[in-house]
Amino acid sequence: MTLPLPLSSALAGDEVLSIRDLTASLKRVVDGSYGPLWVRGEVLQCRAPSSGHWYFVLRDAAAQVRCTMWRTYAERAGRPPVDGTEVFALGRPDVYESKGELQFMVTRMLPTSMVGDQQRALEQVKAALDRDGLFDQARKRPLPAYPARVAVVTSTDGAALSDIITVARTRWPSVRLFVLASKVQGDGATAELVAALRRVNRLDVQLCIVGRGGGAREDLAAFNDEAVCRALAAVRVPTVSAVGHETDVTLADLVADVRAATPSAAAELALPDVRAVRRLVGDLGARLAGGLSRRTRLASERLERTGDRMEAAMEVVIARRRQTADRLGAKLDALSPLRVLERGYAVPLNAAGRVLRRRADFHPGDSFTLRVTDGDVAARAE
């Protein structure tokens, strides 16, 4: 008997995986390909051992999958489902490596019958609110750009409030938060939420955040309640809903002016980033200074232009003066003795340079100088 060729060639190469490599690689593929998702199926072979974890199979007409629900989630779900119950299950697929099995890790489970009743009630409320225009895009108000005082309607027990405070500290530390504590699930939550939302209208605030941390779908009932939705719509300042839930949108989300996925996201949407606002203020300051210096530059340029005109005027004046001076100079020139000499006259001067004007100034034999136009000539009186 000979081995088929592909196997022998595979053995010769390095393409042989260990089982561990195979299941690990499958697990990576599955982990990387699926997020949380809802499936619908019938529960079979449900086991709830003392560990608190639940193990069961979900199947439909065509296929089945093994399911595990860890204790934390099983406790929240209440009692283990009776075999044959049809359910919606939220979870993600996973490969159980050591057994090489595909399984569905369930985090939430709801009987379809219950969902059916809830769904019908929800649709009725939704229709009523819609009829009254509470979902209209036209009534959505813009959020204030720089809210100084913000109301927060939420439970003080959950992470929602501390998440909002944490975001406020980094983004917008000048804000004042007014917390209106309210139950957000269970008995009395609806009435408390309505009362808290009404109180918001008695506060001097610019914005209202209403919400809760993540909860199971059935825990969101208060945010689908008609009275709560109407109280939210009646809040006089813009509202942000923050009903932390990854898959569901509540009616309160639809009524609020802005919907955020989580309380942190609500705070990020509602509060500006102080660093950006400081930059804006800095830019405005720079433009303010720039505007003024430009203005003073214009003024000084105008002054300079005025100065230039004055200088030009002065030059005209000076030129005129110079002309006048030239004319006067010409006249003076005409009167100058040198000009007289030019015309042929001569001036007698004695040795001391004094002008000899009269006969008595001349003594026979005296030497004197005759100044003519181009120099002096020695002369003697006879």
Partner: protein, 84 residues
């Protein structure tokens, strides 16, 4: 601890930061426009500096203030600290 200024209608109302920044932008815009004499520009500049200072002060607040709002038996709203 009671801070009645939290209740609507009782707050000391000055301009909000949004109003102040809008005013500052208006001032800068006018200062950057051409139809302004030096005296007018100086007056605007002074107003702008006041807005700027006030905006900076608002933004310098160091710590978020958190108060709980409680309603007492006769329906009056009171403020409390978060932890009791």
């Amino acid at each position: 601890m009671s801070e009645p200024s939290a209740v609507a209608g009782q707050a000391a109302s000055g301009p909000t930061l949004a109003e102040e920044l809008a005013r500052l932008e208006e001032i800068v815009r006018r200062l950057e426009a051409d139809d302004l004499d030096l005296d007018g520009a100086l007056a605007l500049f002074e107003q702008g500096v006041a807005c700027l200072r006030s905006a900076r002060e608002r933004l310098s607040a160091a710590e978020v203030r958190v108060r709980t709002v409680l309603e007492d038996a006769n329906g009056t709203l009171r403020l409390g600290k978060l932890d009791g």
